[in-house]
């Protein structure tokens, strides 16, 4: 084996967003040594972008809330394809995970009696989201970061992992390179936690940063773990659409939580036109009732703008397709209208949605306290990911754990807003805890030098090629293709077409050349990230072909209705012995009677 700078940790965590940091804190508390690898600098991970809040049934604002309501909201939002045990653990443990953040210094907005304030959000029956204005993710990541740096954790910033290393079927480390100098790094670990986030960079219009290239999904898949629910990709209904340079940037659901309404170019609140049967009982049927809900009237039902994201996104697409959109191909989101209802509306909006106010003012010359925003759907969140055990977050590969967005199971066919931050905390903690336990029970494995050498050779290939094509164009073409053929509205023949395109793109990626040297070379980084993007894009397309119905975030134009036959299984993807992607149907786990009863009661 060539000489590589080598680091040894009991637990290696890949990713330093909410899930990775929470896992690291937990593992170090269990007394094992912990290393954290992140592609960016510490505190810059995508969690920082989360705006709305953390869902936890603290019942500070509405005393009718409890874990059972949160559980049934999550299951309903996921169209019952969620792993019930994960949804149960999540609902039960989220409140403690939030209180813990406060003990570590987080400063959430307060109720009049000094407790943690909670706000309304789509698909949540009661005001449930713990928040700080619209910068909750920043508060969360900074709290975890500032707590974590005093726990003896080793941080390897700006480091990318290329492959996981295995010994007799078990994961024993990882191999990668530091982005600053381009030098290879070998990490030996008794357990590895993947906390790499999502895959949004496979699409052209996305709220995700460059980091979201499906690294964890791809690393796990190539190491033999299963991916699940990959057809369920959430398009957030409200991304910016104008000007072009900000297209896709997120506009928090908090705008609607605070009373924002969606209208088409005729001024019609089109969300009242299509309320799904599953939500009829919980949704206001007139604007007056919706506003009373926003004000906290317990007898009012929530406005239709707060239906689940999959549904709102589809309604927006319908308005645009049928010619009722806004000038730049979106629809209108208006919070300024509340000035008809509140005396100090402008001040109220600035206080509740400060970063939205600045974002539109600075990037689009729009004053959201005076005029409506133009918004449209943007690729936002991957419900699918590594298939893990609900209790421990361990994948099918011993020693390999996954938490947060790169794990699957909690959200089913559609995630509720606010359930992501709580997911990171609840399952980040569990992954850290059980990875530490695994590390204590197992010795260090044997690193196979050939695996590391092969990864190093393959990573350097783009420098040796003489091709004219740089990786940026290939990534751009991939994003364009996925947006058009594997987007919000899907069709069988287009999905097959996508697979053909993917094969061609893979070939081009295999020939892409990079210029310059290994020091902080974004061209090279893009060439390497591209491999992961191609793997996850194929998984999304294959799963989308297989699910011949419309459910949650997955909408098939050729099968526009839900199909009972497809409500009984999840789709699971694994690498076959021949290297081909294999897809299978995995029956849903049996739901315990107690949980069934909760769902029945809350209908």
């Amino acid at each position: 084996m060539a000489e590589y700078e080598t680091h040894q940790h009991d637990v290696l965590i890949i990713g330093a967003g909410g899930a990775g940091l929470r896992a690291a804190i937990e593992a170090s508390a269990a007394g094992v040594t912990v290393g954290v690898v992140s592609k960016s600098l510490l505190g810059k991970a995508h969690t920082v972008m989360a705006e709305g809040g953390i869902a936890a049934s603290l019942a500070n604002v509405d005393d009718r809330d409890n874990w059972k309501v949160h559980f049934s909201d999550t299951m309903r939002g996921g169209q019952y394809l969620n792993q019930p045990r994960m949804a149960e653990l999540h609902a039960k443990e989220a409140p403690d995970r939030v209180r813990e953040l406060e003990a570590w210094g987080a400063l959430f907005d307060r109720t009049p009696d000094g407790r943690i304030l909670q706000r309304n959000f789509g698909g949540h029956k009661y005001a449930r989201l713990v928040h700080v204005g619209d910068r909750t993710g920043l508060e969360m990541i900074r709290t975890l970061q500032d707590h974590g740096i005093h726990r003896g954790i080793d941080f390897h910033m700006e480091t990318t992992i290329l492959t996981l290393l295995k010994d007799a079927g078990r994961v024993v480390g990882a191999f990668g390179y530091d982005r600053e100098r381009g030098r290879f790094r070998l990490f030996q670990a008794k357990a590895v936690v993947l906390a790499t986030g999502g895959i949004g960079r496979a699409y052209q219009i996305t709220s995700n940063s460059w980091e979201y290239t499906g690294d964890g999904h791809s690393l796990a898949y190539h190491a033999g773990a299963e991916l699940m629910d990959m057809e369920f990709l959430q398009f957030h209904p409200t991304g910016m659409v104008w000007p072009p340079s900000v297209r896709g940037i997120l506009v928090t659901e908090g705008v609607r939580g605070e009373g924002g309404i969606l209208t088409n170019k005729e001024g019609r609140r089109f969300m009242f036109d299509d309320i799904p049967p599953l939500y009829k009982n919980q949704t206001a049927d007139n604007p007056e009732e919706g506003w009373r809900y926003t004000l906290g009237d317990k007898n009012a039902r929530r406005p239709p703008e707060l239906l689940t994201r999959d549904h709102v996104a589809r309604c927006i697409v319908r308005e645009i397709r049928e010619g009722r959109g806004s000038p730049h191909g979106g629809v209108f989101l208006d919070i300024s209208w509340i000035k008809q209802k509140l005396p100090n509306a402008a001040e109220h909006i600035k206080r509740k949605l400060p970063s939205m106010y600045h974002q539109f003012k600075q990037l689009a010359d729009i004053d959201i306290t005076r005029e409506p925003m133009e918004i449209g759907p943007t690729t936002h969140y991957m419900m699918g990911g590594v298939r893990v055990d609900a209790e421990t977050q361990m994948s099918g590969v011993p020693g390999l754990f996954a938490a947060g967005e790169c794990g699957a199971g909690l959200h089913g066919a559609n995630r509720l807003g606010g359930n992501s931050l709580s997911d990171l905390l609840v399952f980040g903690k569990r992954a850290g805890e059980f990875a530490a336990k695994f590390a204590k029970e197992h010795g260090a494995g044997q690193i196979n030098p050939d695996e590391a050498d092969a990864a190093a050779r393959s990573a350097l290939e783009p420098f040796e090629r003489q091709s004219a094509e740089a990786p940026y164009q290939i990534q751009h073409d991939l994003q364009d293709m996925m947006q058009n053929l594997v987007g919000i509205v899907r069709r069988e023949e287009e999905l097959h077409e996508a697979l053909e395109h993917l094969a061609a793109l893979r070939e081009r990626a295999g020939k892409a050349a990079v210029a310059g040297n290994r020091e902080y070379n974004p061209g090279w980084h893009t060439a390497l990230d591209l491999r992961n993007l191609l793997t996850v894009s194929e998984a999304v397309a294959r799963a989308a072909i297989e699910r011949k119905e419309s459910r949650g975030a997955h909408f098939r134009d050729d099968y526009p209705a839900k199909d009972e036959a497809f409500s009984k299984f999840n789709l699971v993807i694994q690498k076959g012995a021949d290297g081909e992607m294999r897809i299978s149907r995995e029956p849903l786990p049996q739901m315990p009677e107690e949980l069934k009863q909760i769902i029945e009661e809350m209908k």
Binding site: M49, R99, G114, G133, E139, E211, S245, L250
Partner: protein, 249 residues
Amino acid sequence: MAKATFRIWRGDAKGGGFQDYESEVTAGMVVLDAVHEIQAKQAPDLAVRWNCKAGKCGSCSAEINGMPKLMCMTRLNQLPLDKPVTVEPMHTFPRIKDLVTDVSWNFRVKTQIKPFKPRQPDAPDGTWRMAQQDVNRVQEFRKCIECFLCQDVCHVLREHHLHDQFIGPRFFVYAAALEMHPLDTEDRLTELRKAQGIGFCNITKCCTKVCPESITITDNAIIPLKERVVDDYYDPLTRLFKMFRPAAK
């Protein structure tokens, strides 16, 4: 379509210089868009840090026409495009490559500041009570996105290089957020006065001017901290009082 010239610093720790690139200008474009455009078409190995592209992560700090700014929040229509737009890395930190600097010093400094230490919970269920008006001022400090532009502009670091004796505006804001946290019980005044060098700040307010989050760094964080240090160490009554109550904060 309109075009503009971008004069971008290319090089590494050993040296470098400005290079001109021409790029098309489209509606709403920010400097980071232009840098990406140039990277995709003309300079594939042009190094730049970025993440959120919405002013929330603080990764893409640079000096644009000599002013410390976030590239993602600097609109081209706010710059004179009849002459080249200069884009260079932050001056206060060692250069790595092109627009990327070594900001690791900041991460080391933070570990030297005593962490949050809350008082006993207020309620039997382990929770606390705090009024919104008491958390408002600390929430202002916690808006910080750690872009380090305030560190970049501060002359104590930029010109005098006192990185070993002075923690810089970012970490006074951080210390202030801890010191003024309604639950915190730790005392950081000794370090602020000695090892962390708050006395070096002569309140020129440059940091406040460049803060992309509009945190009133000098007035709301640094000056109150200076006052606490002064009260604690130089006020004769307090010193007398401390002779009898040595443990008082």
